[in-house]
């Protein structure tokens, strides 16, 4: 059966049954839980899902809950959409968020950099006035966009409870 749904009114999303890693990942997302694989050997977390551990080649892993909080590491702000589902939704923001968990490990420039769009707390794409506020350093928390029964995407919204630095933005 796998997973399937239509996102943003026109983009087909599918995960095949035999794609065990992504089935497990999105299975947690559907319950609005963020889980990542932890290596059975070195215990390091990795993102996105992989078959083996990128650090020690171990095949065995287990899924652990991970706090969906972090800061924007970098971003792109799309003004000319390519995919039909994103036409009429510009500007939208592509974010890479450094999770607080495992940041700077195992080397200082590494992090679990989790992709997503800037969204409202309900998981819908953020309006232009919110896009204009976010930049490198903005504190974010994870939310979920429900696509279909059993299929949700992790997304990001501004963490209103966290102290916010002045973010770095593209110089206008």
């Amino acid at each position: 059966m796998g997973l399937q749904g239509t996102y943003l009114g026109g983009m087909g999303l599918t995960v095949d049954d035999l794609d065990q890693e992504n089935m497990a990942y999105f299975g947690h997302c559907a319950r609005h839980q963020f889980h990542l694989q932890a290596c059975d050997s070195c215990q390091r977390l990795r993102y996105p899902p992989t078959t083996a551990c990128p650090w020690c080649m171990t095949l065995e892993s287990h899924w652990v809950p991970v706090e969906g909080k972090g800061a924007v590491h970098s971003y792109g702000e799309v003004h000319h959409a390519i995919q039909p589902a994103f036409k009429g939704r510009t500007p939208y923001m592509i974010l890479l968020v450094d999770l607080d968990t495992q940041k700077g490990e195992p080397t200082p420039d590494e992090a679990l950099r989790v992709a997503g769009n800037l969204c409202l707390p309900d998981g819908t794409l953020a309006p232009p006035e919110m896009v204009a506020k976010v930049g490198i350093g903005t504190r974010m928390r994870m939310v979920f966009a429900d696509v279909a029964d059993g299929l949700s995407l992790p997304q990001w919204t501004i963490d209103e409870d966290a102290p916010q630095p002045v973010p770095w933005r593209y110089p206008e």
Partner: protein, 419 residues
């Protein structure tokens, strides 16, 4: 320019043992497009390269091509031209493929599998499969691993690379007007290239006032989509000496060298670092020269930023000094080390990198195809006057470096020298 101290007596990893002996291309077209198939264009370009080399179809027995499943496989091109192949391979991939395939060509000739390899890329990148990612490709369902990127509207090349570019601005204080100079200078070069699609010189203001595609990229920070085919021929330096042109020798190649986590390079940092950081340690030792010896660079300009990031990583300036390097006149014709003297992908046309190799082959022949008058020997009498519509030959060019780009995490490179 002054010849550098090249230790050609002790070739390392086949340096100077192989050459590029023929180049060919079709016109760079938009608007109505090419109006013909990738087979027709590919055949045209390969034939032109064979004739340019002064070879016959029977002299070619190897063929390599690369594409994103948007081209015609080698057997059809070979069949068209009466070439009997002892070796061929059609490889998946776009930018960074040219230099990698040159390395493969050297390897298969060295292994005795064939004697001369033609490499081609044929694409209707404007009229059929849009290289910018619009059209049919943008609407296909998103499956599996791609849910971690495409589902977020993170699909086209500019969208995929934007976080690297933005982080470079953050880390090093890079200014938009500095990066825009890459387009400005490449447009100057294109104005001296009669076959370039965009020959009009543009200003920094025109770049910065063009609409945003994906911040930090304006429309004029992005390359053009065109229909075209290009071909180059690789064979031994010994064979090259009997052929039509002054030999252009291959000193060193790097093919699709990657950062860690090639599946998603952003996991490893710093993300303003690109693959050249690793590739340079293969390129320069094998070439026996360093960046200071290079007369002309061909740093891939899918975007203004890609040119700058690679020039930094390969050591043409210090990391973080790229914005100054690309905007202080160094990379301009007449400057210390011009980049993409054809106008590159920003202006000449988009070929996934192979045209930038062709340009440097012509530069090393001292036979850039500009508007200078052709002399009795059939070669242009270069004036070295780089004003608009004039010369684009670099005086006494001896060494070039091509820096190919697939994405921030993957790149290729090649050093060539005048034989």
């Amino acid at each position: 320019m002054a010849g550098s101290e090249i230790d050609a007596g002790t070739p390392r990893h086949l340096a100077d043992k192989y050459a590029i002996v023929g180049v060919g291309e079709t016109p760079y077209l938009r608007g109505a497009g090419s109006g013909r198939t990738t087979r027709a264009m590919g055949t045209d370009a390969v034939r032109s390269a064979i004739l340019d080399a002064g070879m016959k179809a029977s002299d070619i027995d190897g063929m390599l091509s690369y594409s994103n499943n948007d081209s015609t496989p080698a057997p059809f091109i070979a069949g068209d031209l009466g070439i009997r192949l002892n070796f061929y391979m059609d490889v998946y991939g776009g930018g960074s493929s040219t230099e990698a395939l040159v390395g493969i060509a050297i390897g298969v000739i060295e292994a005795g599998m064939c004697k001369a390899v033609v490499i081609f890329r044929s694409m209707n990148g404007y009229s059929q499969v849009r290289i910018g990612g619009t059209g049919a490709r943008s609407a296909v369902p998103v499956n599996g691993d791609a849910l971690h990127s495409r589902a977020y509207g993170w699909q086209a090349a500019g969208q995929m690379f934007a976080p690297s570019f933005m982080r470079h601005m953050h880390d090093y204080g890079t200014r938009p007007e500095q990066v825009a100079m890459v387009k400005v200078i490449h447009s100057e070069h294109a104005s001296n290239n009669p076959k370039a699609l965009y020959r009009k010189r543009v200003t920094v203001d025109e770049v910065l006032n063009s609409r945003f595609i994906v911040k930090p990229l304006h429309l004029l920070d992005c390359c053009v989509e065109t229909d075209n085919a290009n071909a180059i021929i690789v064979t031994t330096a010994d064979r090259a000496r009997d052929l039509r042109h002054h030999p252009v020798l291959i000193r060193s190649v790097v093919g699709r060298c990657c950062k860690p986590r090639a599946d998603m390079h952003y996991q490893h940092g710093p993300i303003s670092r690109v693959a050249g950081y690793y590739a340079k340690d293969i390129l320069w030792p094998n070439a026996g020269v360093g960046p200071e010896d290079i007369d002309i660079t061909g740093s891939y300009d899918a975007f203004t930023f890609t040119t700058m990031l690679q020039l930094e990583e390969y050591g043409f300036c210090k990391k973080g000094e790229g914005p100054e390097y690309v905007s202080d006149g160094t990379i301009r014709l007449g400057g210390k080390r011009p980049n993409n003297t054809s106008g590159g992908h920003l202006c000449e046309g988009y070929t996934h990198g192979i045209a930038m190799v062709i340009e440097n082959v012509r530069q090393l022949r001292h036979d850039a195809d500009d508007s200078c008058p052709i002399g009795p020997d059939g070669k242009r009498q270069h004036t070295y006057d780089y004003r608009e519509g004039g010369c684009r030959q670099v005086k006494d060019a001896e060494l070039t470096a091509n820096l190919g780009w697939a994405m921030p995490g993957t790149g290729s490179a090649m050093v060539m020298r005048r034989g």
